[in-house]
Amino acid sequence: MKHFVIASVLVIVVTVLIILGLGSIDLVPNLASAEGEYVDLMFRAQLYVISFIFALIIVFILYSVVVFRRKPGDTSDGPHIRGNTTLEITWTVIPLIVVMGFGVWGALHLSEITAQEPNELVVEVTGFQFGWRFEYPDYGVNSSELYLPRDRKVLFRLTSTDVIHSFWIPEFRIKQDAVPGLWTELRVTPTQPGDYRVRCAELCGYAHSAMYAPVVVVEPDEFQAWLEGQEVGTPTPPEDLTPVERGAQLAEQQGCLSCHSIDGSTQVGPTWLGLYGSERPLEDGSTVVADEEYLRTAILDPGSQVVQGFPNIMPPAYTFLSDEELAALVAYLESLSD
């Protein structure tokens, strides 16, 4: 009995220490959505229970290891105790109640997280190897950046053009797969203005690790301004565009801009600003001048000339581009060096 009391006190001490320890570090990224509060609350509650059970088992084992060692020279056996039905029933029923309680709580939270609201902002998200496209059907806007207003519930309707992807912004906490041939749904209310990233969470092939898209959460009025700045209405048919305009459109549609920037910033791939005509250091140590020929090869066979300091992850899949589209893209790239 004495041992039992000491061990029980130790369990409580260790539980408290673990909880304090976990409380002193940042376990999860900053929270930026209303739905995430349910997740974080639930996770914290789980951690408390986990800490207690962990301490319970570990302390009793370690205490036994220290106290109940066999003394040197002792060859006798321990006490002959086969079991205790009351105890077994106790440690069946109590955990059953606890987990079922968590189940009910989780179900209630789930219905909060999936609840609809009248004034939802609808965003249609299309995943593709290896990028994301966002459409705001109510505004006729199409973008490779996900702009969201703060404090308004967003209904993401997700699909994919090729394989399964998963739409995840860690700061928003919850994720949802984007499945070809299907529309899936996810509701999120952003609460913190700032820059985030969509990170594809389902293995989707070659450049899965680089399947990002920028996310910007802004105040509602800034969001309105952004919407108005975007091209509204139906896009001009390709034949009415100049090659440079057509190239800009393609770069957007084909998801090039999820890896390349046009403002000089470095994303997954090198920026396109000032690329044309510059000297390109290659991975094999050589340098080449980025002429038209180089750009074509870079798009059609990206692995053949890998730019120094960058991973060889640009999809080698753009051979389906027509000659006219390729020329437009190259023209657009050239225009970024004027």
Partner: protein, 615 residues
């Protein structure tokens, strides 16, 4: 003696011939149909299948069945083959459960080393942000090869111990169906070769889960992976059938089900799952194979198929598979603990029945892997409840183990250390489970490194640690010699802290946003320290396993000669000489008491009529 007298050599030669024939057949059919002659996919699939069948014939695993068909007598030959050195029996068809157990064990270790080597390579790639030396396509192939390589190594490792130990523990002379037993083992060899080949014909970039549509467009290696899993699966089903029959029918007189050594309960529960669930993964993979070969669009939305259907079929096996992997290991823990605590196993019946409860509940939870998949939203709630239920019998096991330890007279040789290590590691694995089972937190944790940490901890705590314990524990019984205790302790003290760091490190980076299965990660997440720690810990684990192998190989030849019952165990296998003679219990065996009545004076578990004659 010529090399061709070794079954495995004949089998390999036949596999090559069979593969060539299969490919030729496809070419022939295509030419006759007026198509262009060479099409890699069908040729490879048919070649791999025919090659495997040819191996099975070539190795001689079906000779007796052919003889039956011809009406010839097929007496079972006991002992090493006549006129050949005794080691050759391990390289061909032999019906002894002890030989087959060793064959399984060595194959399992070879696959474990392969899987471990792959992991070491890609962990080095992941030690730092930025791409170091692995092409993403190669990386993606390697994670899948690591995953399935380890899974099959676990399945074979379980089969190794089950085959070797179950007849010994229940007092039988062999398994119920010795020929089927040997057949089931040999099927793994050609399947493993097909599996390893998949890496070199384009690989497959889907991870072991092989979700379509990605798997429907993956390189050629994907098909070989499907073929290999199909044959591994057949072996697993047949092996399970054999174990169930053995446990139910061949127990010694007096051994009621509740007087079986507890390991047998674990194996029984595992075998029930393997016998009935494995078909589903084979089915799901065959359907993708057919989609690729014949254009049947089961999972292709453009043809009316549904990618989510695949996930249901796949997880209907692959969740219960987790319990296939851990139940025997948990049985090992329950088996070894009483010996080194010198106390009865606390609540034997509860521990035994909790294995069955876990096995049965395991069938009801598969869709907890699909909370984010896009299946009907309301389905998530019942699967959350069924998943949480599994925590209850698992808790019963834990509490019973602690109660077994409490107040005992503990000693700490290497097997006991690994059992305690298993408890601590399985505890992390078990406790990190419910957050994934509760839908809301899973929407955050799914497909992150938290999950990677969680399932590695369950696999290590439920399989790897217990089976290392088992290797040390039964090593004297297998070889008649003791392992080196110092090296054993070194292995433990390297591996356990390293595993803790690896596991907690994986969970930590996962919470911070590290996704599963990525070749490179965003340094902005602030996880570089964690990643490096996980890599170093992983390499230390690899090193410690090598130390174990050196220890076991060296000790098998040079170790101190072991006494008959070094652990002073009550179990029947320790009452007979080590290594176990060709015939397990020549004078029969009778159960006259409870298996774990340590501390009850003058009680015995079994009576061997000539027991202790040599002492």
């Amino acid at each position: 003696m010529t090399v061709l007298s070794l079954g495995i050599v004949r089998g390999l030669a036949a596999q090559i011939v069979g593969t060539a024939l299969g490919m030729g057949l496809v070419v022939l059919v295509r030419v006759l149909m007026g198509l262009h002659a060479w099409e890699a996919e069908p040729a490879t699939v048919v070649g791999a299948m025919l090659g495997t069948i040819f191996f099975m014939i070539g190795v001689g695993s079906m000779n007796d069945w052919f003889r039956w068909a011809r009406g010839e007598a097929t007496p079972i030959h006991h002992g090493p083959p006549e006129g050949r050195p005794s080691w050759t029996r391990y390289f061909g068809v032999d019906y002894s459960h002890k030989v087959i157990g060793i064959q399984y064990g060595v194959t399992a270790i070879l696959l474990l080393l392969t899987g471990g080597a792959l992991a070491s390579i890609f962990r080095v790639e992941l030690a730092e942000a930025g791409r170091q030396f692995l092409d993403p396509a190669v990386f993606n192939t390697m994670i899948g090869m690591h995953g399935w390589g380890m899974i099959i190594s676990i399945l074979l490792g379980i089969a190794a111990f089950a085959n070797y130990l179950i007849p010994l523990l229940i007092g039988a002379s062999d398994m119920a169906f010795p020929r089927l037993n040997s057949w089931a083992f040999w099927l793994n060899v050609p399947a493993a070769l097909v599996f390893l080949t998949s890496m070199f014909v384009g690989g497959w970039d889907t991870g072991w889960t092989a979700y379509p549509p990605l798997s429907a467009r993956a390189p050629l290696g994907m098909q070989l992976y499907f073929v290999a899993v199909f044959f591994f699966g057949i072996s697993s089903i047949v092996g399970a059938l054999n174990l169930i029959a053995t446990i139910l029918l061949l127990r010694a007189p007096g051994m009621s089900l509740f007087r079986m050594p507890i390991f047998a309960w674990g194996v029984l529960a595992t075998s029930i799952i393997a016998l009935t669930a494995t078909q589903l993964i084979a089915l799901s993979f065959i359907m993708v194979m057919m989609q690729r070969l014949l254009g049947m669009g089961f999972f292709d939305p453009a043809q009316g198929g549904n990618p989510i259907l695949f996930q249901h079929l796949f997880w209907f096996y692959s969740h219960p598979a987790v319990y296939i992997f851990v139940l025997p290991g948990l049985g090992v823990i329950s088996e070894i603990l009483p010996v080194f605590c010198r106390k009865p196993l606390f609540g034997y019946k509860w521990v035994a029945l909790s294995s069955i409860a876990i096995a049965l509940a395991g069938f009801l939870v598969w869709a907890h892997h699909m909370f984010t998949s896009g299946m009907a939203s309301f389905l998530r709630v019942p699967f959350m409840f069924s998943t949480l239920l599994v925590a209850v019998p698992t808790g019963v096991k834990f509490f019973s183990w602690v109660a077994t330890i409490w107040g005992g007279k503990l000693t700490f040789p290497t097997p006991m250390l690994f059992v305690l290590g298993a408890l601590s590691v399985f505890l992390i694995g078990g406790l990190s489970g419910p957050p994934n089972g509760i839908v809301t937190t899973d929407l955050f944790l799914h497909d992150t490194y938290w999950i990677v940490g969680h399932f590695h901890a369950t696999m290590f705590g439920g399989f790897v640690f217990p089976f290392f314990a088992a290797m040390y524990y039964w090593f004297p019984k297998l070889t008649g010699r003791m392992y080196n205790e110092r090296l054993g302790q070194l292995h433990f003290w390297l591996m356990t802290p390293a595993f803790w760091i690896q596991s907690l490190g994986q969970m930590r980076v996962g919470l911070l946003g590290m996704r599963r299965r990525i070749v490179d990660y965003d340094p902005a997440l602030g996880i570089e320290g964690g990643q490096l720690a996980v890599t170093i810990a992983g390499l230390v684990i690899g090193l410690s396993v090598l130390i174990m192998l050196v220890n076991l190989v060296y000790s098998a030849r040079r170790g101190r000669v072991a006494e008959r019952n070094p652990w002073n165990s009550r179990s029947p296998e320790w009452q007979i000489p080590s290594p176990v003679p060709e015939v397990n219990y020549p004078d029969g065996l009778q159960v006259i008491g409870e298996p774990y009545d340590y501390g009850l004076p003058d009680s015995r578990y079994v009576n061997l009529q000539v027991a202790a004659a040599g002492e």
